[in-house]
């Protein structure tokens, strides 16, 4: 054998050794400690080098570590979850490349345990699907009401595709679609199912399905010239007194007036109700009764700048104008107490003159974290003063 051949063989052997070392599970790796190093990544990339070192160790683990790694996703920050997820990607990719099986039984047990986070279970589901092409057909039908948003979305999408194949006069398909309408939480999916039902002659009350608040009291207009109204605390932000009158834009007298909407998407069009104004601020107020004390998400749409107060506390503020009017484009986590709760919305219109920049409307619904509407009763506002 020539010396050059010996070198090549040595080189190959060396590379194989390196490959084996790299692929070998890190013996006795303390997964919790490694995950903690991912969680320690701070703002603006602080701690990235240490996280990268921890990632390298995690990605060398064997497939037996997958359940523990998946479970770690339950309690990680969004950034740490991405570190962890990509380590799981690396592990499973290496196993697949080596034609080694993933621990499918353990993964399926993990998937079925709804105490784990939706993200972690969805990832377990993906790994199962890679190992078993039949997994979606086998698993998704039981997940229509899954607590994980993505799994539920997938389950509804699969069932919807099947139902849509049925003839238009199929009563079974209509019944399935009605069931899916109750199961779906993602707004575009809800709308898609509603359209399919309507094509089959079934009217859908989208307002109720989404749980939009349709009865409000409005106070407007206040001044927003040069955007100054955004920071100005007008009387409604100090105290809501439905019987009070205050001085508004251009010295006009502003009083609270009731307003309701029949729009299927729950929108209050301020251009129609208040008038087509520029540089103006409108307030909308609603009092609702919650059946219990609970965390909620106030989900709102507004293409104008928006602030949301819940029970007198600011829970959301976004000073942007005319970008979109999508479902649930603003999501404000908040807490409702049992009984009466108040929602105050501040919507600021700017001075843009373009045709696409005239929208001045809003819609609001209150849901849980999955998007299920909270069963609220909109209270008849009395004239008494109450905190915001």
């Amino acid at each position: 054998m020539s010396s050059s051949r010996v070198s090549i063989v040595n080189c190959i052997l060396g590379l194989l050794t390196v490959a084996l070392v790299v692929a070998a599970p890190a013996p006795g790796a303390d997964i919790a400690a490694l995950v903690q190093r991912l969680n320690a990544v701070g703002p603006e990339g602080a701690g990235n080098p240490d996280a990268a070192a921890a990632w390298a160790e995690l990605s060398r683990l064997g497939p037996d570590a997958l359940p523990q790694l998946l479970a770690a996703l339950d309690n990680t920050s969004p950034t740490a979850a991405n570190w962890l997820r990509s380590a799981i990607d690396a592990i499973t990719e290496r196993e697949r490349r080596a034609s080694r099986p993933l621990p499918v039984a353990t993964l399926e047990t993990f998937l079925r345990d709804t105490r784990h986070s939706g993200k972690a279970r969805r990832l377990a589901y993906e790994l199962l699907c890679c190992a078993d092409a039949n997994a979606p057909h086998r698993l998704l039908p039981a997940m229509l009401n899954d607590p994980g948003a993505e799994l539920r979305y997938d389950a509804v999408a699969a069932a919807f595709a099947e139902a849509n194949k049925e003839p238009m006069d199929s009563a079974a398909a209509k019944a399935t679609l009605l069931k899916l309408l109750g199961a779906a939480r993602e707004p575009t999916q809800v709308e898609e199912i509603a359209r399919a039902l309507e094509q089959r002659g079934e009217a859908v009350d989208l307002t109720a399905t989404f749980g939009f608040i349709t009865h409000w009291h409005l106070a407007a207009p206040f001044d927003n010239t040069a955007g100054k109204g955004w920071q100005t605390v007008y009387p409604p932000e100090q105290q809501v007194d439905l019987g009070a009158k205050s001085r508004g834009k251009g010295g006009t007298e502003v009083a609270w007036t009731p307003c309701s909407t029949a729009d299927k998407n729950g929108s209050i069009d301020l251009n129609k109700v208040i008038g087509k104004l520029k540089n103006a601020v409108a307030y909308a107020y609603a009092a609702v009764e919650s059946p219990d004390d609970r965390p909620v998400e106030v989900r709102a749409s507004s293409s104008a700048a928006l602030k949301i107060y819940v029970n007198g506390t600011e829970v959301f503020a976004r000073e942007s104008y005319h970008q979109s009017y999508a479902h649930d484009m603003h999501v404000a986590p908040a807490r409702f107490r049992k009984g009466r709760n108040t929602i105050l919305i501040k919507v600021c219109q700017n001075d843009q003159t373009e045709e696409w920049a005239q929208n001045w409307m809003f819609r609001v619904r209150v849901t849980d974290a999955l998007g299920t509407p909270v069963p609220l009763t909109v209270l008849k506002p009395d004239a008494a003063k109450e905190p915001r």
Partner: protein, 402 residues
């Protein structure tokens, strides 16, 4: 010689040097859209000069980037576009070598025409930097090992964009330049490529903007050019120090600025040419309505500037004077920017039809090639091939190796 010159320009401009056959970022080596590759086919389609096609897991307007024997692509998928993908393919076979997924940590709402995989990744040497419209930024090595991650939405929660982000990061030596202009907090970051930490952060106008910064060299120093609707600013890419700025005209927010000699050409109502003067300002050297451009970034080569206007007309002008030289009607509409290789422009329209235009005094369309899939991404040119991506596929267009 041309390759040597390109390499020299790259080094001298502060751009991370790429091999001549690489296409490491938006509009390729030196961010100019020009490749030294030759021998690209003029005609392709099913069964003809498509070397391979690879499936993609989701949508994307980001361009493929090619480094060495690997092609990298980003995509997004899933409920509300919350799945972000970085994929690596073998350049010869199209085999998927690895994929990494991330969950979007920022907002994913956007105009239906765009998606979260709109910014093009930047690559240098063994490393790749992938930015998504959600503000998620991942640094990986070419084998898929994660080096660092940033959630810009978590770092700067007041940034707001419901239309979509399209500006791409660019590399200036060991600094990754990340533009983030929107209606909320807007900024330009200079990020240490080794650690992912900020080297510097410059405040930018709070206005939607999709332009990708470009790099040049002036008076023996690197210059980073950033265009916003109300301002075009030159920075020192190493420190973020402002060198000069221009704010006298309404500028375009989609096409990126380009460099022609000592001039900076900026899309405005038409096009204007700027030259910095003293006291940190710049003067207009020429302006013309005839070289207007819609979405595609203009291309400069050989003293000429090429634009594609809103009427889908390719217009050639003299870069030194702005004088129109010729125009050629194409079939649009166009979002992708033109690229140049082997004396031909390749212009991909939104329907996936690429017009191949031979340049000269009498320029002509020599072929149109229909891949029959919507395409908004600018193609990459590397290793004798053109790489095109749709929402569903990555195509390698090239002659079969003899």
């Amino acid at each position: 010689m041309k390759r040597l010159l390109a390499f020299g320009l790259a080094v001298s401009a502060g751009v991370a040097p790429a091999r001549a056959t690489d296409w490491p970022q938006f509009r390729g080596p030196n961010l100019v859209g020009v490749s030294t590759e030759t021998g690209l086919p003029e005609r392709w389609g099913p069964g003809e000069n498509v070397r391979w096609t690879a499936d993609l897991p989701g949508r994307g307007l980001s361009c493929p980037v090619v480094v060495g024997d690997r092609v990298f692509v980003t995509a997004n998928s899933g409920m509300a576009q919350t799945r972000l993908h970085v994929l690596c393919f073998d350049v010869e076979s199209g085999q998927r070598l690895w994929e990494r997924q991330f969950w979007a940590t920022g907002q994913t709402l956007c105009h239906p025409k765009t998606c979260m995989a709109a910014p093009t990744p930047a690559a240098a040497g063994r490393f790749l930097y992938a930015l998504f419209g959600s503000g998620d930024l991942a640094a990986l090595d070419v084998d898929g090992n994660l080096r660092w991650l940033r959630s810009l939405a978590a770092d700067y929660p007041r940034m707001t964009n419901h239309v979509g982000r399209g500006a791409s990061p660019v590399l200036a030596d060991d600094v990754l330049i990340v533009p983030m202009e929107n209606e909320g907090e807007s900024y330009l970051l200079g990020i240490d490529t080794a650690t992912g930490r900020n080297r510097w952060k410059a405040r930018r106008p709070a206005e939607l903007c999709y332009t990708t910064p470009t790099l040049t060299r002036r008076d023996c120093r690197a210059e980073l050019l950033v265009q916003s609707p109300r301002e075009l600013t030159a920075y020192d890419p190493a420190t973020g120090a402002k060198l000069w700025s221009f704010d006298g005209e309404q500028l375009s927010e989609i096409p990126s600025p380009v460099v022609a000699g000592d001039l900076v050409l900026a899309a405005a109502r038409g096009m204007l040419a700027l030259r910095p003067k003293g006291a940190g300002s710049a003067e207009i050297v020429w302006t013309t309505p005839k070289l207007s451009t819609a979405a595609p970034t203009p291309l400069v080569d050989g003293g000429r500037v090429y634009t594609v206007n809103a009427s889908d007309i390719l217009v050639c002008g003299d870069a030194a004077t702005g004088k129109e030289l010729w125009r050629l009607r194409l079939k649009g509409p166009f979002t992708a920017s033109p690229v140049l290789a082997g004396g031909k422009l390749f212009l991909v329209n939104e329907g996936g039809v690429t017009a191949v235009v031979r340049l000269g005094e009498m320029s002509e369309i020599v072929a149109t090639n229909d891949l029959k899939e919507p395409m908004l991404a600018t193609p990459a040119v590397a290793r004798g091939c053109l790489f095109q991506r749709s929402d569903a596929h990555l195509f390698c267009i090239g002659r079969k190796p003899s």
